[in-house]
Structure formats: structure tokens, C-alpha cells
Amino acid sequence: MLSYIAKRLLAAIPVLFGLTVIVFLIMAMIPGDPATAILGSYATPDNVERLNRELGLDKSLPQQYVIWLGNLLHGDFGRSYTLNRPVIDEVMERFSATLILAGTSLLLCSVLGLLAGVVSAVRQYSWADKAITFVVLVGISVPSFWLGLILILFFAVKWQLFPASGMYAIYGGGDLKDLAYHLVLPAFTLAVVATGVIARLTRTAMLEVLRQDFIRTARAKGVSERGVIYRHAFKAALVTIIPVIGIQAGFVLGGAVYIETVFQWPGIGSMLVKAISTRDLLLVQGGVLVVAAAYVLFNLAADVIQTILDPRLR
């Protein structure tokens, strides 16, 4: 078991490595003079020259990559010209905000999705099932950024139940309660799509498992229906659901881009949007790398959980 986890951790290293290659190649694709492109038209000749040196543009592409990677490993992600501070500092600060939002959403969508899916499967064709199926379909069809706007319109502006934007109140906030209060709308909005996906999959997985021979065996040996559904069927269904929850982590982390913009959450998503429009490409690069690395770790965790559940994978 432990050796398996160690093996998975080792296997994640080439993936992280591959991420850097892809990001590097995307950056190398930038047309025109890279330094000017990266720094934008506001760049001073001074900056351009420094960047050219930093990027080692006189060298071959693989050499450039090695230098670039070496810098990354030293925590040197370059400097943001718009903010005039090291990219790594800005990214890390923003990332914690994103993690709070995405983590809460992921928890929310896992719990709600599993619950809705199981109820829907167990009470197949009941009113509850039909209602859940419909709500789920609405959930995966609604544009989350628009849903966010609608929620703001009603819950923040009209009924003034929750704050419309930000992470903390400007005056007097800052504690956990304040954070939770600000978290409600964005976390919910971000979780809607993923909840739908997980609920749909859970329903199908449960229905599939309930048809299996080993469920008949459990019934034939006198296990109660509750035991059949929650012990036997649910555990077997989880094996197919867990990897999808891992993938949903990606959708949630990515979806944060919209939600953070809509709710002005000071996370990495809203930073990226701003950085792209100001063409602060070093900031974009840093943000993408950090979020992608976090996603790899999420998936790794999903893998490990799945292995704990399923002895056949060991």
C-alpha cells in the first residue's frame, strides 16, 4: 500500500515535468520578439534586454528550457511588470484565496452530488428522481458566470442576504465568520456544474452496480436492503466516481476563473484574466503552472483514495 503511494508520487514527477514542457512550448510559440511580447508595448528597453538575458534567447530551445526550469526550481518565476513584484509572491498570495474557494466548492459538489445521485438511483423513476434529474440538467446547462450575476442580483442587491463581492468586508471583517459569509455565493455558484456531473455519474454508477451478480449474492445471503445499497453497492460505485471527482477538481479550479471575476474574489483566476488583458505573460505563466501543479496533486489524492478502496489496483 505505502509502496503504491510512493510509486504514484514518483509517477507524478514526470507529469509535473511535462506540464513545464507544455507551458514552455506555449510561451515559445509567441509570435514576434518574445521579450517585447512578454513585457508588452510598455516595456522599457532596459527590461527587454534583461528579459532577453534571463530567457537566454541566444541559446537553443532545449538549452533555454533547462535554464528556464532551473530558475523555476529556485522559485524564480520572473517579475511581473504590471505589479512590479516577483511573480511567485503574487501567485502564492492569490493561490491561497483560490484554494479556499475551490476547496469549499469541491467539498460541496462531492457531498451534494453523491447524495443526489444515490437518492436518484435508489428511488429510480420516483418524483424525487425526476426532480433531481431535471435540476441536475439545469445545473449543467446554466452558464456559471451568468448564474453568479443572477445570484448577485437577487441575494446581494435585492434581498441583501449575502455580500456581492470580495473575500472580506472592507471594514471590521477579517475573521472566519466573515470569510464564510463571503464564501456562500461564489462557492455555491462554482459547485453547481460539478454537482450536476457528479450526481449524474453517481446515479448511473449505482444503477449499474445494482445489476451486478455480487449484489444478487448479497441479497441471497440475507443482507438487508440498506446494507445492499449503502455497503455493497455504494462502495463499488465509488470506485468509478472517485476519479471523476478528481477530474471535477480541474473543472472547479478552472471555473474559478469566471467565478472569481464575477464575485471579484482575489484569487488566481481573476489575476489571470487581468494579466492576460494586460499581456503580463510571466504572471500568466506562473499562475498556470501553480494551478496545474495543484490539480496534479488533487488527482494524485483521488488515485490514492481509489487504491485504498479497490484492492485489485494494488
Binding site: 452558464p143 440475507g222 443482507v223 500568466v284
Partner: protein
Amino acid sequence: MAEAAAVGARPQKKRRSGRPSAWGLLFNNTLATAGLLVFGLVVIVALAAPVLPLPDPDATAPADRLLRPLAEGHLLGTDALGRDILSRLVWGTRVSLAVGISATLIAAFFGSLIGLVAGYAGGRADTLLMRGIDMVMAFPYILLALAIVAVLGPGLLNALYAIAVVNIPFFARNIRGIALGLSRREFVDAARLSGKSNVQILLVEVLPNVLPVIIITMSTTIGWMILETAGLSFLGLGAQPPQADLGSMLGEGRKILFTAPHVSVIPGLMIFALVMSINLLGDGVRDVLDPRLKSGALTRPVARTAVMRDAVPDIVPQEGALLDVQGLRTEFRLGGDVYRAVGGIDLHIREGECLGIVGESGSGKSVSAMSIMGLVPTPPGRIAGGAALLDGEDLFAASDERIRQLRGGAVSYVFQDPLSTLHPLFTVGRQLVEAIQAHEPVARRKAEEKARSLLDLVRIPNPAERLKSYPHELSGGMRQRVCIAMALANDARILIADEPTTALDVTVQAQVLSLLGKLRKERRAGILFITHDFGVVSAICDRIAVMYAGRFVETGGTEEILSSPAHPYTAKLIDCVPVLGEPERRLDAIEGRPPMVNALPEGCAFAPRCPRAEDDCRKGAIPMVELAEGRSVRCLHPLWGEADA
């Protein structure tokens, strides 16, 4: 003989009623039809945009800015620059649709190509392609699209490329899985032996089978694509002014959300309606094309078979019988058809006795066995008549809780495939303990002790260690021993074994059969043994019942039936099997095939294949007639002891 075979091999009449066409199925689905209508309407309006009497979507009119909906001349109002929202909506939808559909086509083409090649080629090519795909998937979905747009610069076309690229892995993975499965199917080997080249096989044999999956995947992703492009435009990274798609309209409206909500609410609703209609349609398409859903394989079976007896029969229990089944009828209702899988059978088992039910696949032997404790899946199964008495208690009238207590208690089961019948995620020990604790409130430690002794009983070496094993770690024979141990956990009085040795090798089969025989003698349990093999029957059963098309055609002692079968079917069934040690024996094939149980012929079900059939065989019900002590046959013209009609 050639003539007889040709007659028997006449093509079956096509049955159209049971399988409506794909379009028929789609239209039966109300939601999908609604989705199709909405989607169709949107597409038509979008296509017709240039000829519709709409104002120029980009014509600004500062005087008319931010008119509310239903304003004069502007049905949906105007935006911050005074442009007509309705016109922009129609033109924007046109753009969003075009981008979404093109992105889907691009992603589907490249993704499917990669998936097909990887799945079919296997080996190195597969590893290489899939590692690349994994790398792309290691990025959070939208993030990669953002990175691509960041580099290429904002713009509708760049957004399209970005969305298409990030969706390629999705297609590649789905299609690869299917292609891999198909490439291992025997028809691919057969095509190769027919002289086809790899490219021919991939395009002519594999691709047509993958196509439905590609279409399903496309129909489920196109909604996504539209949402994602709208998202990029919303962030200002897609469509650039003055061109508008739905997302950029929403993005522009966002800035004036509080003062003029209609500017952002309307395009949002449009996206929602469009995507919803596509998703409804996509679900409908998937339901039609996915064979699992078509056959109703995704309905949840309830804990116990539904009992819907026309009338509860008056029953005189058989003297001395532990299990006494009378007039059992089990049906399956699928579509408009009623499949009479079990059409009225009587059987009884005494203490320590083994009754074998012999029949071919589809004869209803397993359904009979499953019906006794309500293990036939409902829907679509139901018990339509008869009774099963255990010590005089009518099992079909008992409460659900009573049935639960009896299952695995007084009556236990052993099934065919020991790998699929054990739960793959629990240890053998845990499954045994569960079986014990379901009937006896004993402590875990004590239950484990008992589990160990059960494994000892079925002669599994090193039982303490084996308790910790998972089913996949055991061989087939060992697994079946575990299943038997589980069936014996609570001193079962009746053991129902459904082809327990069919999946096993002959040497292992011999072990399992002798174990069952020994346990039956030691524990005085009655066994109901289901099999298709007269050899296996000889090894274990005292009496047998031969089943054909849902009914018993002959019952009696094993040796008597084997030495002098009375029903022509029994005789033919015995004669068509080669016997070890008699290689010169001429095999006497039974021509034709058994009738479908949803369209049974009148009279004797075997008459169409029977050489002794006469006119009277084809009408009326054929009764079961006692030929001798303990021998009965359902035949008007048996091979011996002419029935008194």
C-alpha cells in the same frame, strides 16, 4: 438431413414491434423531442438572420440607449450603445452556434483520430499518444484554454482553437477505450484472416462500430463547447467588439448589471436555453444509441421479485417435502411483450435429496431457481402464479423481512461464476462474517472464528490466511468453495446451486461436485441443482427434471431417465452429446431451435422439432402424465408406456 437443416435454418420472421426505430425511440422521449424542437428553432432563426427583418446589430444610437424590453421598435430593448438587443441576440447566437459546432467538429475529428489509432495500434504508439493526452489533461480544463488564448491573443478564432484543443483529450480517451475493446474482438482477427490490411480494418471494421460513440460524445460535449466559448467571450478574450456573440453580450452587460439587468439577463437566458435544449437532445441521442439503455439494463432491480399472482392457489402440501413448488409461473414484461420464462412447474425436494433441473439456455431453469427466494430482478420480472412452500410456509406470501431471514438462512444459493458473484472490494473473511451476522447477532470475533471453520469445512488450505484474501487473489475453484462456505454459514436446509461448476475446469469441477455431494450427506440438506450437463447430473443428482421452453417435460430418477428416456426431447438431448469412451457414436442433432417464450406455439412446445409429433401435439394443453412410480412425462406419444389420453 441437408433438407431438414435447411428447413430448421429458415430465417426468423423479422419482429418490428419489439424494436422501434431510432427516430421512433427519440420521439418517444418527450424531453428529447422538446430539446430537438427548441434547438431546431434556434438553428433556423440563426441561419435565417440575414433575411430576417432585423435592424443592423452593430448600429449604435446613443439616444435610444438602455431601453427596457417591449420598448417601441425594440422588442428586447437596447444596450448601452443603443443597439437593438434582439438583433444582436440573433446574430450573436449565430456566432456562438458556429463557433461551438466548429470547435466540436475539430475536437471530434482529431480526438477520435488519436483515440482510434491509439486503441487499435496498442503497444508503444498507444503509450506515447496517451501519455501526451494525459499531459494535456493534467491542466485544469479552462486554464489551458486561457493559456492558449493568452499566447495567441484575444479573438474569436483563437478562442475556438483553444476550446477545440482542450476538448481533444476528452474524445481521444473515450474513443480509445472503445477502439481498444473492439480491436480485441474476434471479428477484427477474422477480418485480418480475410486478408484485410490494418488501414482497411480500422476504417471498415472498427470505425463503423465506434461512430455511435463519437456521436454520443459530440452530442454531450457541444453544449459544453458553447458554454466555454461564451465564457471566454464573457471574460473579453473571445469575440472582440463590435462583433458580438452571446458571451461577449453578457460580458458587456455585466458592467451595468445593477442599472439595466436586462442587458445581461437576456443573453444569459439564451445561452441557457440553447445549452439546455442541446443537452436534452444529447441525452435522448445517447439513450437511443447506447445499447445498454435500450435493453433497459439500467433499471434498478428491487430487493425482491414482485409477486402478482392472479389468484392465490389452494395448495395441498406434498408429504415429507422440505421445499414444495407448485404451479410456479414467472414472467418478464419488456416493451409490449410478455415472456413466459417459467410456465408452471411443480417440484419438491426432501431432506438430503438432490434434484437436478436440466435444460438448455433459455429454458427457464435458472429463473425457476431464482424465483423461489424472489431473486429474479423486478423490473421486468414478476411471479405470476403458483406457490413455493418451505415447510408448508408460502414464500410468495411472506413478508420482505421474513424472506430476508430465510435467504442465506434456511435457503441458500450458489451461483455460476464465482468471480462476479463475490464482492470484489471486500475480503473473503468480511463477506463470510457478513453472511453469519445477517442471521445471528454474534460478535465479530466469534463470527470470524466461525468463518474460519467454514473455510475448513470446504477444504480450503490455510483458512486463517485466506480470510484476509480478496476474491481476485483466489483461483476459480477456491472462489467457488468460498461461495459454498458462505451458503453453508447458517445451516441451510435447502441449497440452490445454479450451474455451480459450469465456469470451472473439469478437474476443479470434479472437486467441487464431490464436495457438494459430501456436504449433502453430512448435513442432510436438500439440493436443487441447475445444469445443462447430463454428465454432471449423473454425478450428483438423485432425481432430475428436464425443462424445455419454461416447463418440465419429464421427471424421474436420474438413472431411469438416462437409461430409458420417455420424452423425445430428453432422448434427443442425451443423444446429441458425445460421450467419453464412445468416439464412434453418431451424434444425433436436434434440428431447429427452441421457441421464444413470448411466442409459444399452441400444444407441445417441442412439437415443431419433434420427429414423433402428430396433429394432436399441436393443440390444447399437454398434461403431465405419470408413467410409473416417480416417472412423469408431458408427451402424448412418449417413447414408451403410451399415455392414456
